[in-house]
Amino acid sequence: MSSPISSKQNFTKESLEKQFRLSEFLAEKIISSVAFLSIAIIFLIFIFVFKESLPIFSLGKESAKVEMQQSVSASGDQPESYGGVETEDLQPESYGGVETEDLQPESYGGVETEDLQPETYGGVEKEDLQPESYGGVEKEDLQPESYGGVEKEDLQPETYGDVQAEPLVENNDSAEDTAKEKKSNSIWDTLLTPDWVPVSENPRFGLLSLLIGTLKVTIISMLIAGPIAILAALYTSCFASKRTKEIIKPIIEMLAAFPSVVIGFFALMVMATFFQDIFGYDSRLNAFVGGVAMALAAIPIIYTISEDALSSIPKTYTEASLALGANKWQTAFYVVLPAATPGIFAALLLGVGRVFGETMIALMATGNAALMSANPFESVRTFAATIGAEMAETVFGETHYSVLFFIGSLLFIFSFGLNALAEFYVKGKLIKKFQGK
């Protein structure tokens, strides 16, 4: 056979033989390894965070031995100091200790310790004078100062009283015994209490009030951001003219690039005063102000994604609805919105994730007081803000340090669980409800 003809015979065994294409193979492998890498990184971050919180777990179980030793050594230390100073002396010290480290570490603490200590120490020399000077100095001298500080930053005028009062009472009543008992209890008992007093003679790491605070802020901000963002998305995708849409969409999306510090600052300086004037509540920085500020951060995210979901609904649905005599808003609410449910749901979830993990705004606008209360106008402290505020102050490897990392892994687990629940359960139900089986 001549060569032209044989080259035309494509379906020979040789020409159909399997070929190895290196570039295709490499491209495929690179893409898939990058994808796995991103998953692995997330996983590794979680592992690291969780690993740092591990000591809590070991403390919980091996507490018998370790805690005994600790309490022995602690009680060994304590008597010395107790012995050295009289019980009346102990009070001001522990009092000062709780106060300075627990509340307002920066300005307040700095001012206070300098003020308080010289005077009380001065008083120590003369035992008769001490109670008087102590009482006089503290209640008259110290508190006005602290209130002065509070007015500037508006930090916990109330918590100051609350948190402080409790340790005082306990220390007063049964100073040594209770302290030892508390210490020998495992951390797990304190994790489920409302008291978040990480730095004190008797540290307690109660997460309940932090949890309540986080949930409160999240709910408030989602109640505000969700409807606004979805309605705005509905407007731009169904009602607005093309021109209006081209103007509105980029502007709202620009808000997503807004640094959260700036939003927090705005909330701290402007919104807090504004809302206080309207509602007239006591604590200027509270869950509501924080929630509104975080809504500002969440709106662009929810808006962008739900707008995309709404715009991707086929035009044929809209046409069919209009051809049946529906008007524009009926079409938008009964056809477009239900059809876009999965996308909007995903948008809301991302919004929740954003608010849940938002640190800067929470730190600046929520008041940072770990209170158990359902009142939205009460100060709160969120998980993320707690980590942000306290991580720099802890001793590496200490219980406080581990608990903060434990909070970090809790944040991770919560948002992961929320997403999983939504993906597998709620979304299916919603789709069934709006779109038939």
């Binding site: 003219s241 093309k242 086929p314 044929t316 649905y317 046409e319 069919a320 609805s321 209009l322 051809a323 049946l324 005599g325 529906a326 008007n327 009926q330 009964y334 056809v335 239900p338 059809a339 709006f434 779109q435 038939g436 089986k437």
Partner: protein, 252 residues
């Protein structure tokens, strides 16, 4: 005349500067099937969408001339477009059931008109589905998603959905173009039955279909109405050369 449903006088339509329909004048008889035929891009679908003002959705469209439905000019400023569309239903080329259950699809039009009584809605669903000859196939699965139906079933569901709002006129834009022969014949039978109660306009590419289902046929070419008459006459002895060329397959 009483049996003229739609009277069109010198209707022209512009997409921006481009004139897509050129002075169309025609009369559509009541309770008959009128087929609109012609090559792609000749303006027959555009014309159909003029009848229930679906072209309003396209911002660049402007329309001159008159479109009288039972003597009322539907492009008059005082006419509400929503009410027109309730009276003039439309079935689209691509079946477009909503992503809802079959039941919800059928009652959608009634729902937005404010009917909430469950028994009344049930009745509407049954009569509409029966009219669309699909009740027996679907009666046991009314709660299922409409998107799970076959193409032919979806299209008949869309017809049922249109019937449920009880229109006078039904516009069909190539309702069977994406369907297999069996589904197509079902739709054609359906059209045949429906003309007892409704005035039907149907756009089709399929000349046999036009010949089978319609009483009157209008031939469009390049945005103009070339010829309109009884279907028999158009298909056996067309008056114009262009019509004959198209029908016999010499162009188009």
């Amino acid at each position: 005349m009483k049996d003229i449903k739609i009277q069109v006088n010198d209707l022209s339509l512009y997409y921006g500067e481009k004139k897509a329909l050129k002075e169309i004048s025609m009369q559509v008889p009541a309770n008959k099937v009128t087929a609109l035929i012609g090559p792609s891009g000749c303006g027959k679908s555009t014309f159909l969408r003029c009848i229930n003002r679906m072209n309003d959705l396209i911002p660049s469209v402007s329309i001159t001339g008159q479109m009288l439905v039972e003597g009322v000019d539907i492009y008059d400023k005082n006419v509400d477009v929503v009410n027109i569309r309730k009276k003039i239903g439309m079935v689209f080329q691509k079946s477009n059931p909503f992503p809802k259950s079959i039941y919800e699809n059928v009652i959608y039009g009634s729902r937005i008109n404010g009917i909430t009584d469950k028994r009344e809605l049930d009745e509407i669903v049954e009569t509409s589905l029966r009219q669309a000859a699909i009740w027996d196939e679907l009666k046991d699965r009314l709660g299922d998603s409409a998107l799970g139906l076959s193409g032919g079933q979806q299209q008949r569901l869309c017809i049922a959905r249109t019937l449920a709002v009880n229109p006078d006129i039904i516009l069909m834009d190539e309702p069977a173009s994406a369907l297999d022969p069996i589904s197509t014949s079902k739709i054609e039978e359906l059209v045949h039955e429906l003309k007892e109660k409704y005035t039907i306009l149907i756009v089709t590419h399929n000349m046999q279909q036009a010949a089978r289902v319609s009483d009157h046929t209008a031939f469009f070419y390049m945005g103009e109405l070339i010829e309109m008459g009884k279907t028999d006459a158009i298909f056996t002895k067309p008056a114009k050369k262009q019509t004959e060329d198209y029908i016999t397959g010499r162009f188009g």
